[in-house]
């Protein structure tokens, strides 16, 4: 009892600004960090929808990516707070499962956003981008753009992290499949035998990492002409590295995310194409699901043929390639986040 | 003796710490060219007296007169600027720096001209040369390399460096706080010789020590401090060590001359 009082008092302090009304349906949004524009946009979407539906939303975040401790504490706070549901992008997809189970046992609806838990059915539902499809789209586009030259492409793979989180693996393998490269084990990258792959390096998903990884791979083979990147900041970094050796104009860079600076970079010809995902939609759909659950106990259904609710992905490019559906950057800018 | 004016004196110094009176109307006189030992039991206030003279403690009331002028020190740096150098018991040396660096710490010499004015370049050669001169003047020639770090020196040699620093800059008075306390027999001997060498240069010395044989060996006069003020000044030639100990512990009253 005392602990509950303390935690709710604390959360009230932490969340100064968001009013606490007892009658409203409570919901929680727990993100990996509150610094990444992707999550900022997610929070925006959730807040807007929550206001519309009269849901009282509280947001929590880890201090850094990988900070599972804070996320567990946030789940506990939400249970104590009497919330009806939790939307979570888990930092540790396996480690968070017992805390999620605790919340579900307490009668909360738990929806994984963007990142599926392991196993995926540890959450009541998952609202996410089909990351494999996102990769496949840019892979197909790159192959189609190159045409016959695709056979002799020299590909640099700029991935997320050496721990190979599932998001990174899915996009990487999707790209390779789309490009027409034999995957080996689709659950990890780095085991492919195709000689067109010059190498994989990791970027931590930011500019500095992207530049360094690109530099490293350029030393391995200066003739690289296709660059896959895990996200657009990494792509921007890779571009700087290419610019430093005057290769910026004859290398094809593809990426995934669809953040506004990324889409602008496509407009400026820095990135060839990107697969745009929709964090705002994930969050607003999530809030809707919690509202429905609070009203009459209905649970959201996954997309047909998939084990999660697919919030969609679109290929954005100003140089459409035959056989691959895409939208242009003008449309992309209307839909972008961050 | 009375015809000569003291170089450094203190009159009616009072210093209180809360309810404790450390200095109670204390007087002090140091005459030119002499070695004055200050002795007293623990808690007698001799340490407070020395701190007041070296600027480390600001007295509540009383007057300090240096070379005929009333002075007020708000920090040890003030006292140093006025010509009073103190060799602290912990020596105040930087072990990782060289002998020359230590000797000139806070008083470095810069190059002449643009190098010094604009680039603030230190004239290391000049400082090393002066350091070498000063050390040889004081018979510290066993130190071969002026650039070796102080931490490579023995305790006695370190004391020597600290004394040399004081002697290099102390224009009027040098105060030495327990210079032999941490040293062995042979090193103490060297330091006592050093004290006499400094005296021979004409600089008066205030020596604080617990070691009666050392005090009686080098001091010209002895100031005995008791219960926060000067009990008496004695001539080591007229009194024995046991007399001095008896006065400072209160076992015996001195017969004032």
């Amino acid at each position: 009892m005392k602990k509950t009082l303390v935690t709710s008092a604390l959360s009230a302090i932490v969340l100064c600004g968001s009013s606490i009304t007892q009658a409203e349906t409570g919901a929680c949004l727990i993100t990996k960090t509150d610094t990444n524009p992707f999550f900022v946009k997610m929070k925006e979407g959730a807040n807007a929808k929550a206001k519309e539906l009269g849901v009282s939303l509280k947001s929590y975040a880890g201090k850094i990516d990988g900070d599972s401790e804070s996320q567990v504490a946030a789940i506990e706070t939400c249970i104590a707070d009497g919330a009806k549901g939790i939307l979570i992008t888990a930092s540790d997809t396996k480690g968070i499962v017992p805390a999620v189970q605790q919340a579900r046992d307490a009668g909360l609806l738990v929806i994984a956003l963007d990142t599926p838990l392991e196993p995926i059915d540890a959450a009541d539902a998952t609202f996410a981008t089909d990351n494999f499809l996102a990769g496949e789209l840019i892979g197909k586009w790159a192959a189609a753009s190159l045409g016959g030259a695709a056979k002799h492409a020299k590909i640099a793979m700029l991935d997320l992290a050496v721990s190979q989180p599932s998001v990174g693996v899915l996009r990487d393998q999707g790209f390779l499949q789309g490009f027409g490269i034999d995957l080996g084990d689709p659950n990890k990258w780095g085991d492919e035998t195709d000689s067109r792959i010059i190498g994989h390096d990791v970027t931590a998903g930011n500019e500095e990492g992207g530049r360094k990884a690109m530099e490293n791979l350029l030393v391995r083979d200066p003739a690289i002409n296709v660059v896959y990147t895990i996200n657009e900041p990494a792509a921007a970094g890779a571009y700087e590295a290419l610019k430093a050796v005057d290769r910026q104009d004859d290398v094809l860079i593809v990426s995934v995310d669809g953040g506004c600076p990324g889409v602008q970079n496509i407009q400026d010809g820095i990135i060839g194409a990107t697969s745009q995902q929709y964090p705002l939609l994930m969050a607003s759909k999530g809030i809707e699901a919690i509202a429905a659950w609070a009203k009459d106990g209905t649970k959201p259904e996954p997309t047909e043929g998939k084990n999660f609710f697919d919030t969609g992905v679109s290929l954005i490019t100003d140089k459409p390639a035959e056989g691959v559906d895409s939208i242009d950057t003008k449309q992309g800018l209307d839909l972008c986040w961050g | 003796m009375n015809s000569v004016r003291p170089i450094l004196s203190a009159k009616n110094i009072i210093k209180r710490y809360g309810n404790v009176t450390a200095l109670n109307n204390a007087d002090f006189d140091l005459y030119p060219g002499e070695i004055l030992a200050v002795i007293g039991d623990n808690g007698a206030g001799k340490s407070s007296l020395i701190k007041a003279l070296s600027g480390a403690v600001i007295p509540d009331s009383g007057e300090i007169i240096l070379a005929g002028k009333s002075v007020q020190f708000s920090s040890p740096i003030d006292a140093r600027l006025a010509g009073i150098e103190t060799v602290y018991q912990n020596l105040a040396l930087s072990p990782a720096l060289s002998i020359a660096d230590n000797l000139f710490m806070g008083r470095e010499i810069r190059h002449n001209g643009i190098l010094g004015n604009i680039f603030r370049k230190l004239d290391k050669r000049k400082m090393q040369q002066i350091a070498r001169e000063k050390l040889s003047e004081l018979g510290l020639l066993t130190i071969q390399n002026i650039n070796q770090t102080v931490e490579t020196l023995s305790g006695g040699q370190r004391q020597g460096i600290a004394v040399a620093r004081a002697a290099t800059f102390g224009s009027k008075v040098i105060i030495m706080d327990e210079p032999t306390a941490a040293l062995g027999v042979k090193e103490s001997r060297k330091v006592l010789d050093l004290i006499r060498d400094v005296k021979a240069k004409g600089i008066p010395i205030v020596l604080i020590s617990h070691n009666m044989p050392h005090v009686f060996e080098v001091a010209d006069r002895i100031h005995i401090h008791r219960l926060g003020s000067r009990l008496c000044e004695i001539d080591p030639k007229q009194h024995s060590m046991s007399d001095a100990v008896a006065y400072m512990t209160g076992a015996k009253a001195p017969n004032i001359d």
Binding site: D34, T35, N36, P37, V40, V162, D201, V202, E207, E208, R211, K212, E215, N216, V219, R220, P233, A236, G237, E240, K243, A244, P261, Q264, I270, G338 | P76, I77, R80, Y88, N90, A92, L93, S94, P95, A96, L97, M105, G106, F119, R120, K121, L122, K124, T142, Q148, T149, E151, T152, S154, G156, Q157, V185, K186, E187, R189, R196, F216, E217, K237
Partner: protein, 357 residues
């Protein structure tokens, strides 16, 4: 008693004249190991320099021309340029026996300020750069004031400052990245340190040149000016320095202010390096700078070490990271080896310090 007796040594000391006088002199041990220890003691940057040369030779032997090309070697310089700047700042603080955890955050905040002042308020880039330096200097001054005057431990002060500056950075920037192309068009000055000079295959960015220049200038200041000697003396023993006449508080504050300004310079160079301005950049700059300093043989206990060692330390990390990546090992091996280097470096530091006693 007559005077003659008094000025003679006391009777019990008479035997001293016959005793062995060697202890007073500097004892000369001549073993090989001891000579090495002494050599390292007086040349603290020697160990990292040797390690650097050895690692260059080893990776060169394994990788051949791919590694030993002007392009690759200058690439390593480019990759360590930012750590070099921040490491230089960190060196100053660590020589005073402090530590600065806020360096990376101050760097990023400065770069964000430079970007936002140009792009949000439309002010000229020159003014924006100046503001970046002011913010860095101010953060440094606050650190210095709290450490020197309020006498709080540097670890705690800069731990707090790190959080405060990082939060300010995210709040102020609203997590927005400013794109490289926008900067290039409207405020090219911000990318100044990304400009490059090519000599054959070698690529030197202005950032690299400036970083090496900063290290050399600081090396001069630390070894050849009074301020530099005071910085060492404060790290060695602040009380002794104070008594010897060093203005400890003033010097300490100036050290932290210069550290802050160097972080701003690093922030400016960072824009040149990654092209864009990203509030999430440089998250590990504080740890990386401490790593470079420690591998560079600078003592965390203060008062010892050369800033050149820091540069060698940063380069060692750069050579290892790139070399191991080129060999194709898992990047975790890099961290493992760097971890080992850190511990070995500190162990060597302790061993060298024993030369004192």
């Amino acid at each position: 008693m007559n005077e003659e007796n008094l000025n003679k040594p006391q009777a019990f000391e008479a035997v001293l004249s016959e005793s062995d006088t060697s202890t007073v002199q500097f004892t000369k041990k001549t073993s090989f190991l001891y000579s090495i220890q002494k050599l390292l003691h007086s040349n603290p940057a020697l160990v990292p320099l040797l390690v650097l040369l050895a690692s260059l030779v080893i990776f060169g032997a394994i990788l051949g021309n791919k590694f030993f090309s002007p392009f690759t070697l200058t690439l390593i310089l480019q990759q360590v340029a930012i750590v070099g700047f921040v490491g230089a700042a960190q060196t100053l603080v660590i020589i005073t026996a402090g530590i600065d955890l806020s360096v990376g955050a101050i760097m990023v905040l400065s770069s964000v300020f430079m970007g936002q002042i140009t792009f949000r308020y439309g002010l000229p880039a020159e003014f924006a750069v100046l503001c970046g330096f002011i913010i860095g200097g101010l953060c440094g001054f606050i650190n210095g004031f709290l450490v020197a005057v309020i006498r709080l431990p540097p670890f705690i002060v800069t731990l707090g400052m790190w959080q405060i500056v990082l939060a300010t950075n995210f709040l102020y920037s609203a997590n927005e990245t400013i794109r490289s192309q926008d900067i290039e068009q409207h405020a090219a000055l911000l990318q100044f340190f990304g400009e490059k000079i090519k000599i054959g295959g070698a690529v030197l960015t202005y950032g690299v040149i400036a970083m090496v220049a900063v290290v050399l200038i600081l090396h001069y200041i630390l070894t050849s000016t009074a301020w530099g000697r005071h910085v060492y003396a404060i790290g060695d023993d602040p009380d002794a320095a104070e008594l010897a006449g060093v203005k400890v508080k003033k010097t300490l504050i100036s050290v932290y202010v210069i550290t802050g300004l160097l972080c701003s310079l690093a922030g400016w160079a960072l824009i040149g390096r990654i092209g864009s301005i990203s509030p999430t950049a440089g998250q590990f700059a504080n740890i990386e700078s401490i790593t470079a300093v420690v591998i560079g043989g600078i003592s965390l206990f203060g008062g010892r070490g050369s800033i050149l060692g820091m540069l060698f330390g940063a380069l060692i990390v750069g050579v290892f990271s790139l070399g191991l990546r080129l060999i194709g090992t898992d990047p975790q091996w890099t961290y493992l080896l760097i971890g080992l280097l850190i511990i070995v470096a500190v162990a060597i530091d302790q061993w060298i310090r024993k030369v004192a006693s």
